[in-house]
Symmetry: C2
Subunit: 310 residues, 2 copies
């Protein structure tokens, strides 16, 4: 698990390439909660998700071979790696499954990376990417289960604590657990982490119940960003050590959170980007008395027209 | 012209009802400029534009009669007044022209305000609203030409200076000039204001050239938010006293800025909300050497699907 020093070092390493994303505070009357709710607007990050934090940190920490880098992804991590490779003038090969939306595919291809689409879910793209890396010797940039990737995602926590030091709880969506693991490593128990997953791909929830990583089905509207088949070992260990709490939400609640963000804040978030907020708006997680909650809005790589409507 | 004390008082008065909107800084590599560019994300304000700042300040400063309040608007001011009246439990009648998009009409109607649609442009809605106020005795909340409204909009400047004290130039879109006049009153010459208008509704530009307010045509894609027929007398006087510089941009540049905000930042802005940025991205205004520019992104009340595309 990355230390605070690892995360501070990552922050320095990636600073020229990523944005410091802002927070916005919502008054109790806006949410119906007893206390203000603070959102970290990480969907405004370069490439439209938090992923370049980990991708840049991994690429800038490693000796990258001439064969370049390879990554598998539902889309956001692949886009981040492709973008980082373009900026750092490295070759990149990205593997995505067929569920990856056109908006994400087109952005990856536009970076000049080699894009391979195949398999029905993230896990098959991961297998293809590992076979390819074995063939070429390219550096694998894992979507969530590498120390450098976690340290990069941990910079979200570093910034969130600086900008909202009053928080007692931070809600974050999880698929493989990279963003959760990074932020939890930063806070290291100083606040309570609430892990939110779609009930159609509950990797951390199931692993927590079973006390071990387990394969789970991966479906539903957020599968292209949260559809890992199994939690990362790093995130799992952090969750077991810290006792992070898991909450699952239904796809309807996620869609409702997307609409709420547009209707109330003119924010576009993709399903995975709105999943953490869905836990609060749907009541799946209720802040305990005195809690000051923060939510990471973590991605916006969707058709913007998809967030409106009733 | 409001003083800094007036604007500070307005900030205190409206604080329970509006959001402190965040800023985000873009590195030179992101814009091609020589220096960072700072955006104030005022499109995240309650009701999706800066307008509730002025509306709440006017309603909270006045003795509102039982007949309530009346306002004319291309949409955003009307929505802000309707929302403020709903929150403060007052009656509201809102007049908008036929060019007001459905997205704005529906939001106004949803507040419970009485909505009247008529005339082809803002100016006709204004005339209808004044006739109605004469009939009922309701309090007129002008879209831009009242001291309290300007003081409310000036709180954008107060916040922008606190969050980005390094700025030397602030770019702001203008229709009747309420947002410009408010922010210029706050800064009072301590930075340079750059007023940006669509070339199809150049109220301040023409008034500046003529050294007097003049009627201008009001058309183009931003007419529903910047389509005043004539600059407000307050904004005009402030511009003449301070020597504010006017820049005009073409509709294509505005559309380009909307697309750029979506493509690079996953921000949705309506045409009027992207107009100030369009001046920089199109080169209509080039920052002088050493300038540190800030841009107010001031509205997002459009179909979110309209900002994507090529």
């Amino acid at each position: 698990m990355p230390t605070q020093d690892d995360i501070r070092a990552a922050a320095g390493r990636i600073a020229p390439h990523v944005r410091r994303t802002p927070v916005i505070r919502l008054a109790p009357a806006e949410t119906g909660l007893d206390a203000p709710l603070t959102l970290k607007l990480e969907q405004l990050q370069v490439t439209g998700s938090f992923k370049p934090r980990g991708a840049f940190n991994r690429l800038l920490s490693a000796r990258v071979p001439a064969a370049g880098v390879v990554a598998a992804s539902g889309g956001n991590h692949g886009l981040a790696v492709a973008h980082a490779a373009q900026v750092l003038k490295m070759k990149a090969e990205i593997f995505v499954p067929e569920i990856t939306p056109e908006a994400k595919r087109a952005r990856i291809a536009a970076t000049g990376a080699t894009l391979t689409v195949g398999g029905t879910a993230y896990d098959q793209a991961r297998q293809a990417s590992e076979a390819r890396a074995a063939e070429t010797g390219a550096l694998i940039v894992h979507a969530y289960d590498q120390e450098e990737v976690l340290a990069g995602q941990g910079t979200v926590g570093l910034e969130f604590e600086e900008d909202a030091p009053e928080l007692t709880h931070v809600l974050v969506a999880a698929g493989g657990g990279g963003l959760y693991g990074g932020i939890a490593s930063w806070y290291d128990g100083r606040i309570e982490m609430v892990i939110v997953e779609p009930d159609e791909c509950p990797t951390l929830f199931v692993a927590g119940m079973a006390s071990q990583p387990m394969d789970v089905p991966s479906g539903g509207i957020a599968a292209d960003s949260l559809g890992a088949r199994r939690v990362g070992t790093l995130a799992f260990e952090i969750m077991m050590r810290q006792g992070g709490r898991c909450v699952v939400v239904k796809d309807d609640a996620i869609r409702g959170a997307q609409r709420w963000l547009w209707d109330r804040l003119r924010i576009v978030a993709e399903p995975g980007g709105a999943t953490a907020l869905a836990a609060i708006l749907s009541g799946a997680w209720a802040p305990p008395k005195g809690a000051l909650a923060g939510v990471v809005v973590c991605g916006a790589n969707c058709d913007p027209g998809s967030v409106a409507g009733t």
